[in-house]
Amino acid sequence: MKILVCISKSPDTTSKIAFVDQNTKFDENGVQYIINPYDEWYALVRALEIKETLGGDVTVITVGPIADDAIIRKALAIGADDAVRIDADPTDAYYTAVQIAEYAKSNNFDLVLTGKETINYNGSQVAGMIAESLNMPFVSLASKLDVNGSTLTLEREIVGGLQVVEVSLPAVVSCAKGMAEQRIPNMRGIMAARTKPLQVVAPVSVELLTTYVNYTMPNAKSSCKMIDPMNMDELVALLHNEAKVI
């Protein structure tokens, strides 16, 4: 079974979010990048578990500049067999998805996995776009994935419920909580990652469908009004009369 796992970098969850160049660019100063948690904890680890029971290969792919080799090496240390970096800035979701789909087309993967969204742009766009570009079925937000021959059985969240579905390979799946548990790379993995193949591929030319023009920060809350814990009638009255939310 050949599995392609799409990984994205995202700022460490404790990063201070700020913008530069008249609020048109994310301020990377002092920001530590990690593998987007959904990609790492769920997509990558589940792919490795499948490989461990059924055999096969796990390739990780990212669209990004050379600095992203650091997160790729981490994915290799966790256990991926090889890696591909499309050498371009992942400027918008469409651009990114087409790059990955182009690579996938010429390499016949049985299964393409992504995280359910990135924690920086939160678009949930790339996986569905890859599926459409490859004309494959797409199971979004799966929290469980089992392989039986050439069929997948999945559990996924839908509007107002949970669904169990079956789909034939090849397919694209976006992975959510519940699918696997985070793995911490060990020393042997980290050493092995240094010599695993990392292929750098030139991007294809793709138009940008969207542009982030600028960014703003939410207004800071004015000070918090403290309420006497003995007097919950006062809180209820404030929520009704002042905040007008009940």
Partner: protein, 314 residues
């Protein structure tokens, strides 16, 4: 200008459907709604009151197959010459809108929280709600996926016509084996009032108190990540940067410290109430109302106060 709004009517008309139709109306031009499933004509016709000029329905499509729905919306967009297509940013949109974006080569704006600005850019949540981005679409057709609870439905028109529509979608490649729908629960992303609790509640056996308050308010329940991780509460209640991002009118946080990753998913809430024993808990800095006290004592008192308020109506 022609606006097409896709709504999910599989289990009746949700508030999110009314939000997207009202939003589409504000964009101006002719507004068509496209849907599938088994909702009856008379309920679909009421979408006219929120601004729809016409509702198209394809009853041959049941369920939520992403390829069928992509085909449905693409053919409706073609038939009405849509220049803007609108979704509610729910789980169906997350599967279908990206496919449609590729099919139509139409730029997709996910998680919109406002109407387009004068320059055409649309504001979205980024960094899990820690900031906003203004996004511009470069293609002639654009797709906007509107975050639930970001736009108030407005009712002022009359019923509209409902016509059947055929998209000739091929059969689904995804076989549904079973569907579980929790009874009577308010789906968290759509809830206007949310009662949420963290590790401060000490154990799952103490959640009765949290549920009592939620029931009294008519609120949905949520929790912090460790609480879902240890299995005290189901995963779908986990809010925050790596859980669900929500923006209810009222978020009550009980025994939650307010870590940056938790705040990311909830700081779009209109009003935040924090109940915590630790005056230094970071959550107080993000709160509108704070109660420094023991949840085990405060919660029953608050629930009683809410019940009293509901009975008296003031």
């Amino acid at each position: 200008m022609s606006v097409l709004v896709y709504i999910n009517s599989n289990s009746g008309l949700h508030k999110s459907a009314l939000e997207t139709v009202s939003y589409g109306k504000k964009l101006g031009g002719n507004l068509t709604v496209i849907t599938s499933g088994s909702a009856d004509d008379s309920s679909l016709a009421t979408l006219g009151k929120y601004g729809a000029n016409k509702v198209l329905v394809d009853r041959s499509i049941q369920g939520n197959d992403d390829q069928q729905l992509t085909q449905l919306i693409a053919s409706a967009a073609d038939s009405v010459g849509a220049t803007t297509i609108i979704f509610s940013h729910d789980l169906t949109a997350k599967a279908v809108a990206p496919r449609l974006s590729v099919r139509l080569k139409a730029g997709l704006i996910s998680g919109a929280i406002e109407l387009p600005a004068a320059d055409g850019t649309v504001k979205v949540n980024v960094f899990s709600g820690k900031a906003f981005g203004s996004v511009k679409v470069n293609s002639s057709v654009k797709i906007i996926s509107l975050l639930p609870n970001s736009f108030q439905p407005e009712e002022n028109g009359n019923n509209c016509a409902v016509e059947s529509f055929s998209s000739n979608a091929s059969s689904s490649l995804i076989k549904v084996l079973s569907t579980k729908k929790p009874e009577g629960e308010i789906p968290l992303p759509e809830a206007e009032l949310v009662v949420s609790a963290g590790r401060g509640m000490k154990g799952p056996e103490n959640w009765g108190m949290v549920e009592d308050l939620a029931t009294a308010l008519g609120a949905a329940t949520a929790c912090s990540r460790p609480v879902a991780d240890i299995g005290w509460r189901p995963h779908h209640e986990h809010v925050g940067q790596t859980g669900v991002a929500i923006r209810p009118n009222l978020y009550i946080a009980i025994g939650i410290s307010g870590a940056i990753q938790h705040l990311a998913g909830v700081n779009g809430s209109k009003v935040i109430v924090v109940i915590n024993t630790d005056a230094e808990a970071p959550f107080f800095k993000a709160a509108d109302y704070g109660i420094l006290g023991d949840a085990f004592e405060v919660l029953p008192r608050l629930t009683e106060a809410v019940k009293k308020f509901k009975v008296s109506g003031q």
